[in-house]
């Protein structure tokens, strides 16, 4: 039953369906019969959070344990927040409507930096102090994980415990430990100290940070002898056997991605030097076609979705991609289920593949050359040639597509104005090719749409040492690009540079930024992932008020031997490897992908003796008679 106070206000807000739960697939348990209650919080709105695969996996995983009950929580929209604050409605779990402050865990997933103030706002809406030090009880413990946990320092004042790496095992381990702590009457400090001994667990309050006079970090040291100096991320060694849900919560209100999703692989072989995901999710591990097919079919059966996406960083790199599509098409076509493959790569996008995905429905095609010239693509190690881009577009046009969307970045290391103009030149070449094709789709014009993002150098990438372009420089380059486009067949959209600037400060920030995050939140920052809610002044103003220099974080080249704020976390890839790659980038030199040749990034140590991708690929070739 919906509580009366909530019920009275639901029709006053936009899309009340976001606040009532009860969707097919949601899990309801008897709260008197569970030991641990977990509030899985996504620090953004329902439509965004319900698109997130990690949440679906962990929600099902927790709930597969009879004595754990995991509920979903999202950030309310501004109108709902006003109602909650004025009516005294505390942030609640969508399944039970119970206030999450009474739960055992409040778990956040950190998908992007712009959601950090959303974390604070949700803790506040829950009726809890935002600062970890002011929450004294054993429950709730505030935990966080996800890609941004690879540099969690700007959130260390608010979160009790970070989970580093993949969560399928460690989430359950810390919950088990918490149950023990409750049964044995431990204090919160006792629990955190014990938890910090579990591999993959980082308890920031148990680590001291000291600084040099110039503001860089001198050392990060554990305050106890029995917790690790370096926290190594957790991974699942055998992806083919990892837990995967056979049910999803199927939302009523339409989320951004409204479809079934089946994860096909983790990690990426490519080593694009700008891409954080490409490094922090290493090593590359894949599922077998048979497992993916079975899983996908079960999900379509249980959810009723008409679309299923094969999800990963680079799905066309799946060794068994073609047999997989053949298998899936045997049941999907008849049931009007659309297969979608996000993150296709231009260099291995075959005609056969295109035909397979186009069988149910045609939509636009999206590619990411990232750089406008071959030189800059070599710098960023996007091993894609102009010829491959042109061939892919030709294949797409021949297949009846007339819209192609291309993603680029500006502000890449070593970038010159020629590289910026190169983006416009490449787009023009694609337009020209379309009109030169005798067999082009008749009666339709072509549209090449270019989306250009501002590059944000990230931790654990070879570009972590690089300064970000200043806002003035981004502005100048955006104008240059706009003036280089001379045809209406090409449409350009540029990202807002100020967002990227804040992202960079937070991505590479240290503990001193906690105060900035808190002040920006107090000034009203919350749903900053939405441009209509972001006010850059709240961030720059907070930095100034607290006497911190934004350029120190965002626009400074960092020496190879500088201790980075995230260096006590070990994501597998070694710093030596990142330095090597950085030097190669400055020499315009590419690195082969992991299947072609191992580049000794060191992430294979996480496999505990199992073969990494290069060796496995050789086996695969032998088995298929190609080696």
């Amino acid at each position: 039953m919906i509580p009366k106070k909530l019920e009275r206000n639901l029709l006053k807000v936009q899309k009340p369906g976001r606040y009532i739960g009860g969707e097919p697939g949601s899990v309801h348990k008897d709260k008197t019969k569970v030991d641990e209650r977990i509030a899985f919080c996504f620090p953004d709105m329902y439509e965004v959070g319900m698109s997130h695969l990690g949440m679906k996996i962990l929600y099902s995983l927790y709930n597969s344990r009879e004595n754990f009950w995991c509920e979903r929580v999202f950030a309310p929209d501004v109108d709902m927040e006003d109602v909650m604050r004025s009516e005294g409605i505390l942030l609640y779990g969508l399944e039970s409507f119970d206030p999450i402050k009474d739960f055992d865990f409040i778990a956040f997933t950190l998908q992007y930096e712009m959601s950090y103030t959303g974390v604070l706002n949700m803790l506040d809406l829950a009726g809890l102090p935002v600062r970890a030090s002011e929450r004294k009880e054993l429950s709730p413990i505030v935990i966080a994980g996800g890609p941004c946990a690879c540099n969690p320092e700007p959130l260390t004042a608010f979160v009790d415990l970070f989970l580093i790496g993949e969560g399928e095992e460690v989430n359950l381990e810390i919950t088990e430990l918490h149950l023990k702590a409750k049964n044995e009457g431990w204090s919160k400090e006792q629990y955190l100290h014990e938890a910090a001994k579990i591999p993959g667990v980082y308890v920031p309050s148990l680590y001291d940070v000291t600084y040099h006079e110039d503001g860089t970090i001198k050392a990060v040291t554990p305050i106890y002898d029995d917790i690790p100096e370096k926290i190594t991320k957790r991974i699942i060694v055998d992806m083919d056997k990892v837990f995967y849900p056979d049910k999803f919560v199927v939302p009523f209100v339409e989320p951004v991605h409204d479809r079934a999703m089946v994860e096909v692989l983790r990690g990426c072989i490519r080593g694009c030097r700008f891409c954080q995901a490409g490094f922090i999710y290493r090593p590359f591990r894949e599922k077998r076609a048979e497992t993916i097919d079975k899983c996908g079919k079960a999900l379509c059966d249980s959810t009723g979705y008409n679309e299923i996406s094969l999800t990963s960083l680079s799905t066309s790199d799946l060794s068994e991609i073609e047999p997989l599509l053949d298998k899936m098409l045997t049941w999907s076509q008849e049931r009007k289920i659309n297969l979608s493959l996000p993150s296709l790569r231009v260099d291995n996008f075959s005609e056969a593949l295109l035909e397979k995905i186009a069988k149910v429905r045609k939509s636009g095609l999206t590619f990411a050359p990232e750089g406008g010239t071959q030189r800059i693509r070599d710098v960023i190690n996007k091993n894609v040639s102009e010829e491959e881009i042109m061939n892919t577009c030709r294949t797409a046009f021949e297949g009846g597509y007339t819209n192609v969307k291309l993603y680029f970045m500006m502000g890449l290391p070593t970038e010159t104005d020629d590289d910026i103009r190169g983006i416009a030149v490449l787009a023009q070449k694609i337009v020209d090719m379309f009109y030169a094709m005798p067999n082009r789709p008749k009666g339709k014009g072509v549209n090449v749409s270019i989306s250009c993002a501002c590059f944000v150098p990230k931790p654990f990438t070879p570009f972590q040492f690089e300064p970000q372009d200043t806002m003035e420089e981004f502005d100048r380059k955006q104008k240059l690009l706009r003036s280089s486009i001379t045809t209406r067949k090409v449409t350009l959209s540029c990202h807002d540079a100020s967002t990227s600037f804040v992202e960079e400060i937070l991505a590479k920030g240290d503990r001193r930024l906690c105060d900035v995050v808190e002040l920006a939140w107090k000034k009203g920052s919350r749903l900053d992932g939405w441009s209509e809610h972001l006010d850059i002044e709240r961030w720059t103003g907070s930095m100034k008020e607290l006497g911190l220099d934004a350029a120190f974080y965002a626009n400074r080249r960092r020496a190879y031997d500088e201790i980075e704020p995230w260096e006590h976390l070990d994501y597998g890839v070694s710093k030596e490897f990142l330095i090597r790659e950085n030097k190669l980038a400055h020499a315009d030199t590419t690195t082969p992908n992991c299947k072609q040749k191992c580049s000794a990034c060191a992430a294979n140590k996480l496999l505990k003796g199992e073969k990494c991708v290069a060796a496995k690929y050789q086996d695969f070739l032998r088995e298929n008679g190609k080696g």
Partner: protein
């Protein structure tokens, strides 16, 4: 094999917050989960064919809602009902699956139960009774074509009215259908007591033809 069917269902509890647009997606997935082969529109973007006789406003409950769809396999209608009910979310429940006996154009009236929570039910009831007994109630109705005046007299009947310690209870019959459609909130919003109402619960209890037979 194709068979046009009409599905009668109840929408109550949490489900009343599912908007009409979201309902069509919800039903498509319900048919898929039930494994029922349904007819899809042809063309560029095929979708499961569904026609709702009388969409329900967001936040209203309904006991005799219906929509039409087309079955493309020979499955007994009772089985269709069973299979759908097993996979429907809480708050949605099918009462009957039948052939389409009438045309949706025959719908002329609908009955509503309104529960109006307020501080002073006795006085609200009194004022409301006076309002509903007026010879003429002219209101502004916003349509897609703009704002126009509408005379509500003759378009509603009060079937019952009462009050208890917390609420005023009202049963209304309102003109409904393709030509004239009066939402109970239109009447309420124009009443002198609207500001005094803390919360309104609305439930559609019957959908009727000109001679007051149930729509079938």
């Amino acid at each position: 094999m194709q068979r046009n069917i009409r599905i009668f269902f109840e929408k109550t509890g949490r489900a009343k917050y599912i908007s009409h647009l979201d309902m069509t997606r919800c039903w498509t997935r319900t048919f898929n989960r039930a494994g029922l082969p349904m007819w899809y529109t042809e063309g560029f973007n095929p979708h499961l064919y569904m026609t709702f006789a009388l969409p329900l406003s967001l936040g209203f409950e309904g006991l005799c809602e219906s929509f039409d769809a087309r079955l493309i396999a020979d499955i007994p209608l009772d089985e269709v009902k069973e299979r759908l009910n097993q996979v429907l979310p809480t708050g949605l429940q099918i009462s009957r699956v039948a052939d389409q006996k009438m045309n949706a154009r025959e719908i002329k009236w609908a009955d509503y139960e309104l529960c109006l929570e307020c501080e002073n039910p006795k006085s609200v009831h009194e004022k409301l009774t006076e309002f509903l007994n007026r010879d003429s109630i002219v209101v502004e109705k916003r349509t897609k074509k703009g704002v126009k005046d509408m005379e509500l007299n003759g378009l509603y009947t009060v079937l019952e009215s009462s009050f208890d310690e917390t609420s005023v209870l009202l049963k209304l019959r309102l003109a409904t259908g393709v030509e004239t459609n009066v939402n109970p909130m239109l009447l309420l919003e124009n009443s002198p007591v609207y500001a005094e109402i803390l919360q309104t619960s609305v439930r559609r209890t019957a959908v009727l033809t000109a001679d007051l037979n149930n729509f079938e």
